[in-house]
Amino acid sequence: MTTKARGRALISRAIQSGLTLWVLATIIWLMFRLLPGDPTTALLGTGQLPPDAVARLRAEWRLDDPMGAQYLRYLGNLLTGEFGLSFTFRQPATEVLAPALVNTLILMAPATAISVVGGVLLGAWLGWRRGGAAEFGGALLVLVLRSLPAFWIGIVLLMAFSYSLGWFPIGGIRTPAFFPETWWEELPGFDFLRHLVLPVTAAVLYFLADPLMIMRTSMLEARTEDYISYAEARGLPDRRVRRIARRNAMLPVVTYVGIMVSFAFGGQILIEMVFSWPGMGRLMVESVTQRDYPVAQAAFLLMAAIVVVVNFLVDLLYALLDPRIRDA
């Protein structure tokens, strides 16, 4: 492919991505308008506000404007990167989202990284040992873990290591007003890491299965390929043959990692609820129940945008890993 053609393909992909985002933005906007109630509904129910005060709020928040006008204002704001003021927090939606996103990434980045690296290595290892007892036992174990709900794994971990043994704190991201009592508790980050261990473990146990099983299957397929037989016939040591197989087998995993990363940004709502983790998942649930449109829209759109962008990046990465795609 010539540079020019590649450039043109890139531009058309960019336009495609833009259109996808517009459609998504519209669906997200419509979705929240279809839910019963609006941001003032929760206030009505508390009985703390007389109906005329609610009417004034509706006007202030411009919820009485025609739907068409509201939609156009929303799109216009999006183009300038504005998501509007959060109705509940009364702050720009992006400022509400940012700290929650950081908290989610603190949890999900290590969990995703460990799952992917661990999944690829273990999956390759299992795939190479097709038919052995280790392969059977390993595959069974991860499948069992995968079929358990993540929040259930979280609860079991909490019950064992927090409620009973008391080794780890019961949820939260840090201890407020933490006073170290022993020398090891004085180590920098000790309190924070102690809070991180259980939720990351729960997430890894849950996420590990997918990359692992994909890698295993893909490794099994790779084993039957001619180039592996050729490598073996050349008398290459097993470790090198396995490396060749692994590199080829990794392609489907890379695609899947794209999906995993976008999930990571959305956080795992249930894990966050179980561990009282102040992340995106919890914020999204709260903003939807409160009908806090700006925050909910920004959160969903952020996730959608990440899926689109990551997919784009995965395509580029594919080309790096597999020369056949680059030259096709």
């Binding site: 308008r33 279809l34 839910l35 019963p36 109630g37 609006d38 509904t41 929760a42 206030l43 009505l44 129910g45 508390t46 009985g47 703390q48 506000l49 007389p50 109906p51 005329d52 005060a53 609610v54 009417a55 004034r56 709020l57 202030e60 919820l63 009485d64 025609p66 739907m67 068409g68 003021l85 509940t88 927090f89 009364r90 702050q91 509400v96 700290p99 929650a100 908290n103 609860i155 909490l158 927090s162 409620y163 008391g166 704190p169 019961i170 949820g171 939260g172 991201i173 840090r174 407020p176 007003a177 609820m273 179980v274 009282s276 102040p278 992340g279 919890r282 914020l283 129940t289 009908r291």
Partner: protein, 579 residues
């Protein structure tokens, strides 16, 4: 995904919900949508207007001798109401009517029932024990005055009685408590005669605390020993160990530090720890001076308030009457929705002397002292006058470092995690603790486990009977259960047959087994109301004791129906009276 599929999923919670309350019509959706796009203003909730059964039932008049249609009972899908609904359906159906249970989320209930007044035959709701509901005006006016029979108002049962309105308006404007009490009792008497509501229980405020670490908790009406509403415990509790900062928790988090911004009760009351109100409620619910040293009603539209001397803002500036005047002028100027009661009642405010301000009221208002002086606070003028330019409203200012003058000072707020407060030793009633940390823990299991492990000292929200049992088993923990004026009730739609018939409503009163309900649903942690009124007997001064609750008796219920001419067919189905 079709919108209809989405709706059903949102509401599905149990088998009763097969045809959820929001029967969805594609045509009405398209119609509303095109109207909206075309320029007419369409509130989102009308897109989901109630259709089918409800509308038909509303239009239907009692056909003489015809069978009584199924009674539609809608309640939120909260665990307590799921159980309540089943018990209610069981006893009501013994009258020979079918009970059609509908459940939906709290949002559905608020949007459709409160927001749109699409009320089925009966609606079950519970009301928390917020301090402003101790004054009898709240329930008597918001639920039953015909002025509140408007969309968004809480009179969604359509009670409309001109005689009642007159007595109710008179009690609102009566400044003398003794005279007012007679009117308040009269209101309750009229309601007991009409039965527009079935009061189920006044559920106790029940919370555990760590008795090995703390002593001197104060059981307080509706707040118990842990809630933020009326926080006597946090002012009075004394540490027994070296831990002098108390840790407590709630499910929900605060969303702002700006006291002008939020009407949400947990957030608002917690900010009043930093910005105390002029008056507060004592442990038994009586109005007591707080940031005001005293107040006096000069004439029915004039109230003098004397500021407590020696109060100092956290930045060292004294709290002055100028700050008080500034605060009220600020509220009137910006018309903060959370403070809607202020411009409704207050005409103006003037400074009488360096310690006293005089409120001129638009009309006499009995609830001015408890609900305006009990909700408003003093904002430091030097801080709020100097807000940055470009804010649409001062309610949008984050107020990241609140400058208050209460028993507690702001230290740190981490969104979604905790709010840390420190004791202000300069307050006239300095708390004995060194501070309080409110943790926002979204699930009850973690809260209970944290109580057991000692990570928490108390809980800022109510636990149920099972949880109370578990907490009481722990040697360090004690569970305290205190009466509340908060209420579980069923509102009856006065406009819909057969509910519109007083005899039928009386039958429902008799067919409601409150004792069983309190035992089964609340493990006995609630009052079985002895009187037929919305003002709990625990609210001694206002509650009318002369209105016995119709006792639970299916026999009496059927007799009431038979007396009114209702009959039963061979299959036991209830039929309307002839002619």
């Amino acid at each position: 995904m079709t919108p209809a599929a989405g709706r059903n999923r949102t509401n599905s919670n149990g088998s009763e919900d097969r045809d959820a309350i929001m029967t969805y019509s594609r045509r009405s959706f398209l119609h509303a949508l095109t109207a909206g796009m075309g320029g007419a203003a369409v509130p989102a909730s009308t897109l989901l207007a109630l259709e089918g059964a409800l509308t038909r039932a509303a239009a239907q008049q009692a056909a003489p001798n015809g069978p009584v249609p199924p009674i539609t009972f809608f309640a939120p899908n909260w665990p307590d109401y799921i159980e309540i609904s089943r018990l209610i359906a069981n006893t009501w159906s013994q009258l020979g009517v079918e009970v059609d249970l509908k459940q939906g989320t709290a949002q559905t209930l608020m949007a459709e029932v409160i927001g749109e007044h699409n009320t089925p035959h009966a609606v079950g709701v519970s009301w928390g024990g917020a301090p402003d509901r101790i004054d009898p005006d709240y329930f008597l006016t918001e639920f039953f005055n015909s002025r509140r029979k408007i969309k968004g108002g809480l009179n969604y049962g359509n009670y409309d009685n001109a005689d009642y309105d007159a007595v109710n308006d008179a009690q609102r404007a009566e400044m003398d408590p003794e005279t007012r009490r007679e009117l308040v009792w009269k209101c309750q008497e009229m309601l007991a005669a009409d039965n527009p509501i079935l009061v189920l229980t006044f559920r106790n405020a029940t919370q555990p605390y760590n008795k090995a670490r703390w002593e001197g908790v104060v059981p307080t009406l509706a707040s118990g020993v842990g809630m933020s509403y009326i926080p006597w415990t946090y002012y009075k509790m004394k540490p027994l160990t070296s831990r002098k900062v108390a840790r407590t928790a709630n499910f929900t988090e605060i969303v702002t530090l700006n006291p002008f911004a939020t009407p949400e009760i947990f957030n608002a009351t917690l900010l009043r720890w930093i910005y105390p109100t002029f008056v507060t409620r004592g442990p038994n619910g009586d109005v007591e001076p707080w940031a005001a040293e005293s107040w006096s009603v000069v004439d029915p539209t004039t109230v003098d308030v004397k500021l407590r001397p020696g109060m100092v803002f956290d930045d060292g500036a004294p709290v002055t009457v100028e700050d008080v005047k500034f605060t009220f002028d600020f509220i009137m100027e910006w018309k903060f929705p959370a403070f809607a009661r202020v411009p409704e009642v207050v005409e103006s405010l003037e400074i009488v002397d360096p310690a006293t301000v005089r409120f001129k009221l638009k009309q006499p208002s009995a609830s001015f002292v408890p609900n305006v002086l009990g909700f408003c606070f003093v904002a430091p003028r030097h801080v709020w006058q100097a807000l940055p330019e470009g804010l649409a409203s001062p309610a949008d200012w984050p107020n990241e470092a609140p400058v208050g003058y209460g028993g507690f000072k702001f230290i740190e707020w981490r969104k979604g995690e905790y709010l840390q407060l420190e004791t202000n030793k300069h307050f006239f009633l300095p708390p004995a603790v060194d501070g309080v940390i409110w943790l926002f823990v979204p699930n009850i299991e973690n809260q209970l486990a944290m109580m057991e492990s000692g990570a928490l000292d108390m809980l800022g929200w109510n636990i149920d009977g099972e949880q109370a049992k578990r907490m009481a088993e722990h040697p360090d923990l004690e569970v305290v259960s205190v009466p509340s004026h908060g209420m579980h009730e069923i509102r009856l739609n006065m406009d819909m047959a057969p509910i519109s018939d007083p005899a039928f409503r009386m039958a429902l009163q008799h067919a409601t087994d409150r004792k069983e309900l309190v035992e089964v649903v609340f493990s006995g942690l609630g009052a079985v109301p002895a009187t037929n009124t919305v003002i709990t007997g625990a609210n001694e001064f206002w509650s009318n004791p002369n209105l016995p609750m119709p006792d639970f008796s299916i026999e009496k219920a059927r007799q009431a129906l038979a007396d009114a001419g209702y009959t039963w067919d061979a299959e036991g189905r209830l039929h309307y009276p002839a002619g």
